[in-house]
Amino acid sequence: MTASGFDATRPILLLIMLVLALGGFAVGHPGILSPDNLNSMAVFGVEIGMIALGQTLVICGGDSGIDLSVGAIAALSQVVLGLLIHAGLPWLPAVLLTLSAGLVLGLVNAVAINWFRIPPIIATLATLFGYDGLALVATGGVNIDLTHASPRFLAIGQGYALHIPFQLLCLYLPLLLLFVYAQHFSRYGRALYLAGSNELAARLAGLRVARLRGAAYVATGLVSALAGIVGAARLGTARPDAASHANLISIAIVVLGGTGIFGGTGSVIGTALATAVIAVIDYGLSYNDFNPIYQAGMIGSILIVLMLAENLVGYRRSRTR
């Protein structure tokens, strides 16, 4: 059985990085590998990890696909959720409505890009402004307190299942499996890959390229909303400025995970491993009393070093040939 377009090199590299990072921190601070700490690491990674799954599909679809509005969708969804709960809606319908809001926000991106043919970076830049603005407008810039929401709702971000954080075991991992399936084992994933690698050939072979790509943006809207919901439940608050760097970090994770920005390559498996690496390094640094803002800087450095290393090795190779 062959899965579509899976290349194992980068995932293996990332696994090695993951082990090294864990090992390195373990030597410095033996306590870091305690279950509690591992759980905290996981919680760190889950929200951005979900967004990165969607971002992988968007980038994989080609045509300079990119979604800069993911963080704004997460924030706006969180706000919608907060308002719905405050309006007295039970938590479950509120969550479902919020997810459909995320779907609609993703659909706006999809339509702007695939129907109106606005370059993705511009379209999602505009919706980033728009969604962030709406989140601020809706709340007046004030956080919505959700600590008194249903404990069942809060459990989404704070609970445990089998001693593992609920959002990791019951949300992220199933979602990951779903994305792996969609990307590597489904008709959709196969078609998206092909569309990403040669749009014209795909169209002339009967693939509906705009729909395929549009679906990736819609899926990204959906997972971004889910990430927003998890974040709100974890912190017991809905913030209009939540996840403000999610776009940059998610793109960095996707590229780190081996997805080429020109489309048609890469895997959500790589994305998941890259998320784990980032989560560990991030947590390790905070554990060592670094300022949390170093997270982004760290990710940026890793991204650049990795790209440089690859390009230089590739260049050497192509010159000696």
């Binding site: 045509d63 990119i66 702007a112 109106f116 043919r117 606005i118 370059p119 970076i121 511009i122 379209a123 830049l125 505009a126 919706t127 980033l128 402004f129 728009g130 969604y131 962030d132 603005g133 709406l134 601020l136 407008v137 007046g140 810039g141 749009e199 014209l200 169209r203 002339l204 209009p240 760097h245 940059l248 970090i249 793109i251 960095a252 590229v255 920005i261 020109f262 300022n291 803002i293 170093y294 982004a296 800087g297 760290m298 990710i299 940026g300 450095s301 991204l303 650049i304 790209m307 440089l308 390009n311 230089l312 260049y315």
Partner: protein, 332 residues
């Protein structure tokens, strides 16, 4: 963005060819700007035309316009730089630290410019020598520069900014314009002249139009790109200085969100992301539209949070309308 289905006989004899008025886009922008100004002055009962408001508008426009000049050139070459906001924050932090150490204004201005240029050089080298796609390279430096802001500042705010900075650039006027606006205009004109009338400028356009043809014609793409990114860094350094004149304080969030504003101004001005098309007049108008929208939201007592929504809407409508027109023309 559009597909050419027929590769061999893409344009047949006698096919109707699209002819566009060269100044059409600028004219449209001017009309948009006029309508916005008219609407806002009516809605604000003349508050738009007070000298205080105009002063604020010109100062903030200048601070956006100056890096937008560099961004226009970068986009014209077919590249992009998303690190500008972080870069501005880092330059402000380093310069602000110099001020805090008691350096004079005259001694510190070169620090601002040199730091900006150096950070631009880093971007340029990653893109040219490292051959990392511009979006990815500058995405990386965006987060690195922001991290370095924290390294420099710790958790402090810097407020020991010499008042002379504000006096000279913001309070003082030449004719009726604040000095910074005059400088921005001068830079825009110089940049436009260089783009139009100097070899360098024509090579920028040639590169963005057809990089392969340009290379074969003996133009050196790497040199042009180098000047573009370093130039943007330099201008960003200068903008950092001016930011401190506008509001004399450096904090860790200084400059965040700024790059989006700059790119929005450039793209609204009609410079195309694919490179080779656009220019400084458009960027000037794009900047003014962005800033007038922001200003109008304050004047009309709309919640300031609407500014993002308005800006996003303006971009979507403006770019969407023109892109959609392209698609129609290609299908028709």
């Amino acid at each position: 963005m559009t597909l050419s289905i027929t590769s061999v006989s893409a344009a047949p004899p006698g096919a109707p060819r699209r002819i566009r008025m060269p100044a059409g886009r600028e004219f449209l922008l001017l009309v948009t700007l006029g309508l916005l100004v008219a609407g806002i002055s009516a809605g604000s009962r003349g508050a738009f035309w007070t000298s205080v408001n105009l002063n604020n508008l010109f100062v903030s426009s200048a601070i956006t316009a100056i890096p937008a000049i560099g961004m226009t050139v970068v986009i014209l070459t077919g590249g992009i730089d998303v690190s500008t906001g972080s870069m501005l924050g880092l330059v402000a932090a380093i310069g602000g630290t110099c001020f805090a150490a008691g350096w004079s204004l005259a001694a510190t201005i070169p620090v601002f410019l040199a730091t900006g240029a150096a950070l631009g050089l880093v971007n340029a080298l990653l893109i040219i020598q490292g051959r990392i796609p511009p979006v990815i390279a500058t995405l990386g430096t965006l987060s690195i520069y922001r991290m370095l802001v924290f390294v420099v500042l710790g958790s402090n705010w810097l407020t020991q900014i010499p008042p002379a900075l504000t006096t000279i650039f913001v309070m003082d006027h030449l004719w009726f314009l604040p000095v910074v606006a005059v400088i921005a205009l001068a830079l825009l004109i110089v940049a436009a002249l260089f783009l139009r009338h100097f070899r360098w400028g024509r090579h920028v356009y040639a590169l963005g139009n057809n990089e392969e043809a340009a290379r074969l014609a003996g133009i050196r793409p790497n040199r042009i790109k180098l000047t573009a990114y370093v130039g943007l860094g330099l201008l960003t350094g200068f903008a950092a200085l001016l930011t401190l004149g506008e509001s004399p304080m450096v904090q860790t969030s200084t400059g965040s969100g700024f790059v989006l504003q700059v790119i929005a101004a450039v793209v609204l001005g009609g410079t195309e992301l694919s490179g080779g098309r656009g220019g400084m007049l458009g960027t000037l108008l794009g900047t003014l539209i962005v800033e007038v929208v922001n200003d109008g939201i304050v004047l009309l007592h709309i919640q300031p949070f609407w500014s993002g929504v308005a800006l996003g809407g303006v971009i979507l409508v403006a770019i969407g309308a023109s892109s959609r027109r392209h698609v129609m023309e290609n299908q028709a």
